[in-house]
């Protein structure tokens, strides 16, 4: 008797069976009641089957690829840790990059995981649902691997262990938290534009590439490997974000103005978020890879510009804020560093004044602005520190109601003047840092009047350590911020004279001498 051997499934058939074929239309309840989120934003979808799956990945293949990557990653992390890899970084100032970047990013990865899990439930097309679920797993993986990467450093250096507690409390983490909170409380299509497109496609390169190559340049193989392992997922994420944009625009002409407004909004919100990443490149990496200005030109102006040219055939125009971001690229990193430098008692990482040769590098990279606006004040502050009078601005900040950055940006066209915008809503004043943030506020004031501004919350008595009696006669709000933030006192202050500086020097000496 002849055996009938079933033909092996082709990739396309396998993919169809294991993704789209698993979906069904509901019958006990109408589909629009099961998936109400896909219509209320005003986006019109006529045919979900027109969704082109940007990567035909099934779950079994996904597990296989990712587990291979995990094995390599953890082998390198183990090797790095066992060989005291932390002593091979350029100098101990570099560790502060990890405190800032890996202290703020994992909670945001976790929010992205939550967001894409929600998208996996809310989208009623099988194609995007599967893609969103895989991206959710990716984001969760990034969250974990980043924490594993800092855990070894945490054994030796101060200020890394309370990042989860600090995420919703620290003043300078508010901008990232607000970015993701805003996205996740929007509808599914706006979330996809916010995270899938503006963040992943337009801005991730400037977030990851400088960080990864910065880590590599400064001898941190652990963070570099984590970065590369995540970056290979980013290519998929970018494709998903772009596919979603194209899908919306192809489905109905009425979608164009909505999508354009979201692109304008989220490109700007992402730009504001990246000011502190730029500061890391220009001020915190002992060995610099490129200036923030150069990175902005390469990744945003050139690559982003080409992307928007490509989208022009759908009617999409370059984001409104593009011109302002080009002007600001010469200023934001310097303005951010001064903002952090003056708060030595309020961050779990150290700050410092650049050395003379580092200032020369900044002059060379920023010929139009550094010597004219920023060098004199940095030299003044350096002299003050050396005279035992280090800058410590003890006041609490004013923040933008939308991006929650401190109000530290200049008026467009005049770097000596501060930029302030205000709106009145229901008789109350709301301050924003720019025309773009003001427009975002004015479009949806009901949302942004709820913004959590930590300095305001302190003054309302809402930021006290457990056990504080806020009704006591002598209660004064904000007297115990270090306890409320769980800030390790050893992690405060200037880098000069810090435990990290002394320990690193002593351990390296031990490792390299008899």
């Amino acid at each position: 008797m002849d055996m009938k051997v079933a033909k092996k499934l082709g990739l396309k058939e396998r993919y169809a069976l294991m993704t789209r074929d698993l979906a069904w239309d509901t019958t006990y309840q109408p589909m629009d009641k099961v998936f109400p989120q896909t219509t209320y934003e005003g986006i019109k979808i006529h045919d979900w089957d027109k969704w082109e799956d940007p990567f035909r990945l099934t779950m079994d293949a996904y597990w296989k690829y990712q587990s291979e990557k995990e094995r390599k990653l953890y082998a390198i992390l183990d090797g790095f840790n066992q060989n005291n890899g932390h002593l091979s970084v350029t100098d101990a100032r570099y560790i502060n990059v990890l405190k800032l970047f890996l202290g703020s990013t994992p909670p945001l990865e976790l929010m992205a995981a939550r967001g894409f899990s929600m998208m996996g439930r809310q989208m009623n097309g099988a194609g995007p649902r599967v893609a969103c679920q895989m991206q959710a797993v990716d984001e969760y993986r990034h969250f974990q691997t980043q924490i594993h990467s800092i855990s070894n450093y945490n054994k030796y250096y101060n200020g890394m262990d309370e990042f989860a507690h600090q995420q919703s409390r620290m003043w300078y983490l508010s901008d990232g938290k607000s970015f993701f909170d805003d996205a996740i409380t929007a509808g599914p299509f706006e979330f996809m534009v916010a995270i899938g497109f503006a963040f992943e496609y337009v801005l991730t390169n400037i977030l990851f590439v400088p960080f990864i190559s910065g880590a590599a340049y400064n001898g941190d193989m652990a963070a570099m490997t984590v970065g590369f392992s995540a970056q290979s997922d980013e290519a998929r994420h970018m494709t998903l974000g772009l596919e979603c944009i194209k899908f919306m625009l192809e489905q109905d002409p009425d979608n164009l103005p909505i999508v354009q407004r979201w692109i304008d909004k989220w490109t700007w919100r992402g730009t504001r978020k990246l000011a502190s990443v730029g500061m890391m490149m220009d001020y915190m990496l002992p060995k610099r890879i490129m200036s923030f200005k150069e990175a902005w030109e390469m990744y945003v102006e050139e690559n982003g510009g080409a992307l928007f040219k490509d989208l022009a055939r759908y009617g999409i125009t370059i984001p409104k804020c593009f011109g302002q971001t080009i002007e600001e690229k010469e200023h934001v990193t310097h303005q951010s560093w001064i903002g952090f430098y003056m708060k030595p008692q309020a961050t779990p990482f150290h700050t410092w004044i650049p050395t003379p040769d580092e200032m020369d590098w900044l002059s060379e990279k920023y010929p139009n602005t550094f010597d004219k606006y920023y060098r004199p004040v940095l030299e003044h502050l350096d002299a003050q520190e050396k005279a035992g009078n280090r800058f410590d601005n003890k006041t609490a900040p004013m923040n933008c109601q939308v991006c929650v950055s401190t109000m530290k940006f200049n008026e467009p066209g005049d770097p000596m003047e501060m930029c302030f915008r205000e709106s009145i809503y229901q008789g109350e004043k709301f301050h924003t840092c720019s025309d773009h943030c003001k427009e975002i506020f004015d479009n949806e004031p009901e949302k942004y009047i709820q913004t959590f501004i930590s300095s305001h919350q302190v003054l309302q008595g809402n930021c006290e350590p457990d056990g504080t009696d806020v009704n006591a006669a002598d209660f004064k709000p904000g007297q115990n911020m270090l306890d409320y933030w769980k800030l390790d006192k050893r992690a405060l202050g200037d880098f000069n004279g810090s435990d990290d500086q002394k320990n690193f020097a002593a351990w390296r000496e031990q490792a390299t001498k008899n």
Binding site: P376, V377, T395, K408, N443
Partner: protein
């Protein structure tokens, strides 16, 4: 007109409404062209607070770190509440000076433009 779209009624109070400050109000202060301080600072004070307290206590505590502070000629200082020019009376309260919740006081010191005239 709002562009907010929601699935259900959406009404929330402002998180910084004046009633949340138990008889006090927010005030922001910025010294123009002295960006060494990075951003304005914020205070919560009773509206009865004399304006002199803002200058003599809070502004002095913060801004006296700057070498320009000692050189200010207070007769020439130019004041704004938000974008509106005004002349505060030192001896009057915030309220009597027309300063309300979340107002931003900006002051300019002509001739003093920060370290080496950079605006910092």
């Amino acid at each position: 007109m709002t562009m907010l779209k929601t699935l259900a009624p959406y009404e929330f109070k402002s998180r910084d409404a004046v009633e949340n400050y138990k008889g006090r109000q927010l005030l922001y202060v910025n010294w123009e062209r002295h960006r060494m301080f990075s951003r304005p600072f914020v205070l919560a004070l009773p509206p009865e607070t004399p304006f002199s307290v803002i200058i003599d206590q809070y502004m002095t505590e913060c801004f006296s770190y700057h070498p320009d502070w000692k050189q200010i000629d207070w007769n020439t200082v130019v004041w704004q509440n938000g974008n509106t020019p005004f002349t505060p009376d030192r001896n009057k309260s915030l309220k009597d000076n027309g300063i309300g919740h979340k107002d931003l006081i900006r002051f300019r010191t002509p001739g003093l433009d920060g370290i080496a005239g950079t605006g910092y």
